[in-house]
Amino acid sequence: MHYLDHAATTPVLPEVKDAMLPFLEDDFGNPSSVHAAGRRAKQGVEDARDRIANAVDAHPAEIVFTGGGTDADNLALKGSAYKLRGNGNHIVTTAFEHHGVLGPLEWLGSQGFDVTTIQVGSSGVVDPGEIAGATGKATVLVSVMTVNNEIGTIQPIAEIVQAVKQANPNSLVHTDAVQALGNIPVNLHAWGVDLAAFAAHKVGGPKGVGALFVRSGVALESVTHGGGQERGLRSGTLNVPGIAGFGVAAEIAAKEVDEKQDRLRTMRARLLEGIKDSIPDVVVNGDLERRVAGNLNVCIPHAEGQIMLLLLDQAGIACSSGSACASGAMDPSHVLLAIGVAKALARGSLRFSLGRASTDEDVEAVLAVLPDVVAQARRVAA
């Protein structure tokens, strides 16, 4: 199989697996326990917290472990909205956020919060001025993703934070940075964000583990009450093996990011060039330069993405199109519609996302079958 779907998930790195195994075997203790087994588990968690903090330019005390990226987003958004509702009920976000952000914000909307959704232009890059323009006295929270999961575009987070704080110094800024780690250098303190969500499985870690960065001094309500783990913000016995794996994965991701970007950029250029050769009317979605190196999101006119996806799967190639709904069907991409891609064209989208293990052979395999795949898909009447 040629795997070009790293934005969906990544294979667990061998080093990560090795780091997890002790906690599935001898060091199985509960990190909340007092005894030696508990202490060893606790040490594994705290080592991981150090590694992750180091990888994202944060203090270890600012890292809260969660059950994944969506879990971290929920804590960030609901936790801050409820904490700050004495200050106001206004929240600002963008139309092309991940469902992990749109979902909780929609729910907050139903709970009396007023959510302003900023449209994004065809570049797929948010204008900080527009975000600031929507930020007012009653704004308690702004949420803008660092890297879009579908089109890979990188948002000017530091500028957005600056602009928001100028408009309202009391408003918090959250960023869903799930697609940023390992794809661009992550410098949370330099960016100035208050909250940032991460997921282990996007960077060679296991699924079901994430983290929320909560800047020192920022207070949140908990949304998961119980035993008071993670300083009361996220109760529940910690997923020690997962966290240990996440620590190593984050460390490797940060260490290799520059080299990886260079390598993937070259591969992506070859992929795009090859696609253009055989399908001259291909359309690239979003700004090609201001995006992570491994992402290529295109629309192929007069071809259905879901059919191309199946044909590619039959040919042993894994990529994606739109976003999968609960039944597993491909729904039209809200991201592409948000950046103004026409509905008919948006149906023909394909996302290739290269990652650490991607090779030139993967790219050539796509280029070898894509012309036939497109020709087959185009046999289907619109």
């Binding site: 039959q314 609960a326 039944s327 069907a329």
Partner: protein, 365 residues
């Protein structure tokens, strides 16, 4: 030689599960495909097929059979065709059959095209019907299990489609289908049959009309055969020809809806005698094989599980025809499908059309 490829339309029910299993057993390289036909909320309810729970069932059956499984999103197409036709039909006083339209525009068109594009040699479904190749033509026969026979909703199929279509459970009766499913350990073996219109939540048609067909909820007069006002109706979309219940009229004798005049927004009622119909006008007429000659004897079925009645067939221009019944039949509504079966071989479906008008027996006599 590589195996022949089949796409099986899987609904998460027992029939399509066994259809897939049968083709796997027969050596086909099978791909299971489920259709997502509704947008948003309805897709998460548990009515009929095409919801998340059904997708999980179908996916687990596919896992058991070791075949790839996908869900294709045809929600937009479904809305633009089947749902739109459903609403327009009710608003114009017709009684549509959305299953016929779904087969016509979704399963054996949109899905058929996609299955072929995916490299399939055949598309298979869990319908109870049979295909036979005889004297150079593909013929469609009623399902072996007469109580489950679904040939009625397949009258629009063509030679081109039948050449590439399989109905693997058409040879079985329902009990056999369930037995096969049990023997194969398929989790759908005991699932109840779906009955109602898949996109109408829990069969609450009145609520559906309120939510989706505002145009057909305008109150208006109920009149008798002579135009005398008898009462007020609650919107033309809530009535169908032959309906007796819910009219809110008591005349001491049973009263039935005999006609719906959408332009005047009038519901016409009468006695049971007034339900008798002696002729049908058809549109969208098509035949599976050869078109019968004028005056041919045919058997006409106008309901999914109704009796077929003898009639003569008279073409009336492209796609149009008239049927004259030997003996009058009751409660035939415009918008319904008339499926035509061969008079000399009552098992064989030969084609059909959509009923555009009926002539009352009384008026003809």
């Amino acid at each position: 030689m590589s195996a022949r490829k089949a796409v099986v339309a899987m609904s998460g029910g027992v029939d399509s599960s066994v259809a897939a299993a049968t083709l796997v057993e027969a050596g086909y390289e099978v791909t299971g495909i489920m259709l997502k036909l509704w947008k948003g909320e309805a897709a998460n309810t548990d009515s009929g097929c095409c919801n998340v729970g059904a997708a999980e069932d179908a996916r687990r059956v596919a896992d058991t059979l070791g075949i790839p499984f996908y869900v294709l999103n045809l929600a937009e197409r479904f809305e633009e065709t089947v749902i739109k036709d459903f609403h327009q039909s009710y608003a114009s006083g017709r009684t549509p059959n959305p299953c016929v339209r779904c087969n016509q525009w979704i399963k054996f068109d949109a899905l058929f095209d996609r299955a072929m594009a995916l490299g399939a040699d055949i598309l298979a479904t869990g319908h109870y019907a049979r295909v036979e190749h005889r004297e150079g033509l593909f013929r469609m026969l009623r399902g072996h299990d007469v109580r489950k026979d679904q040939s009625y909703v397949l009258w629009m199929m063509s030679q081109h489609q039948l050449a590439r279509t399989a109905f693997p459970v058409g040879e079985h009766d329902k009990a056999e289908t369930r037995r096969i499913a049990r023997e194969l350990g398929l989790r759908t073996a005991a699932k109840p049959d779906s009955q109602e219109i898949c996109f109408v939540k829990s069969g609450d048609f009145d609520a559906y009309v309120d939510d989706h067909m505002a145009a057909a909820t305008r109150p208006g007069p109920i009149v008798d055969q002579d135009g005398r006002l008898l009462g007020e109706h609650r919107g033309i979309g809530r009535y169908t020809v032959g309906q007796r219940k819910g009219l809110g009229i008591s005349l001491g004798v049973p009263v039935y809806v005999t006609g719906l005049d959408a332009d005047a927004n009038v519901v016409v009622v009468g006695s049971r005698d007034h339900l008798a119909v002696s002729e049908l006008s058809l549109e969208e007429v098509s035949f599976i094989g050869e078109t019968p000659g004028s005056g041919s004897r045919v058997l006409v079925q106008h309901r999914a599980h109704g009796e077929a009645a003898a009639a003569s067939f008279h073409p009336r221009g492209p796609g149009l025809a008239q049927l004259i019944y030997n003996d009058p039949v009751e409660a035939v509504a415009p918008g319904q499908s008339a499926a035509l079966y061969e008079a000399s071989a009552p098992e064989e479906l030969i084609g059909g059309g959509i009923i555009s008008a009926t002539a009352a027996a009384a008026a003809v006599a």
